[in-house]
């Protein structure tokens, strides 16, 4: 069964709507959203509410459901 979610880019406020399958992984969601905004997927994490979603979790395991709002958050490094 597929679910539709909205991913917000925290850096710009832009959003993208995505259709996911239960077996899709969180990493695939990050790659899809980052790719849409031409960003490096490795530089971001994604959250659902206050919860950090782990890359290898599937949509089912991460309890992502229809109409969920997710947010792509930068993971910067300073030196």
């Amino acid at each position: 069964m597929s679910v539709r979610v909205r991913v917000r880019n925290a850096e710009t406020g832009s959003t993208v709507d995505m259709e996911l399958e239960e077996e899709n992984t969180v990493q695939e969601i990050i790659e899809g959203a980052a790719g849409y905004w031409e960003k490096d997927a490795g530089a971001y994490v994604i959250r659902k509410g206050k919860k950090l979603l782990r890359g290898q979790q599937t949509v089912l395991e991460a309890s992502i459901t229809h109409s969920d709002d997710l947010e792509l958050i930068p993971d910067p490094e300073g030196g």
Binding site: R4, D17, D75
Partner: protein, 210 residues
Amino acid sequence: MTPTILGGRQPDIENRPPPPKERTTEHKWLVEPGQRNSPDPEPGCKPLYISKIAEEKMRNHAASKVHERLEVMGLMLGQVFIHEGVEYTMVRDVATTDLDASSTRVRFRRDGFEKLFASLDDIGFDHIVAGWYHSHPGHGVFMSPTDVDTQKVMFSSSFHRAVVIDPINKEIGAYRLGRIDVEPVPFAIYWEEHQNPYYGTSVRKRALSD
């Protein structure tokens, strides 16, 4: 099967005048050429305005790790506006969390993200992550190769900014990604009508969660 992209939306940028000159001032720690006593570019707005609350939080955060000589880092939260055709960034607040830090490197701790998310949710206004700040304790203000990579990878939009603070040498600088590399940008500290003016001569204790 990879996720299917159904479509996206980009927010409009609101037209709004910058804070009035009588409620802005220059930072006392400016050292970058072109940042001190810089005239406002036409039509009278700077590329970056930082609220006194955000500035005090960043400076306090940097100062809190001076004795350990550890870098600190956080996200700058704010909005982008246009005034007479010119885009500018307003940083109203900041958010951070537990860090993996040394005297030359800093990142968010993996187990600190949920604390960061709680801080983001506690911000009482619509915001974007308008940039990031970090400290160089005793090393001066500049954008290191690691900092430049971060700016290019994550903060590459025209309105994204970086702030670097050296709390030991009392230096501060703001930067953006230019056509080729990062470049310093003029900025001002502003305060709201109901607030006392910003003097910047001492650091008022202000918790990151205030």
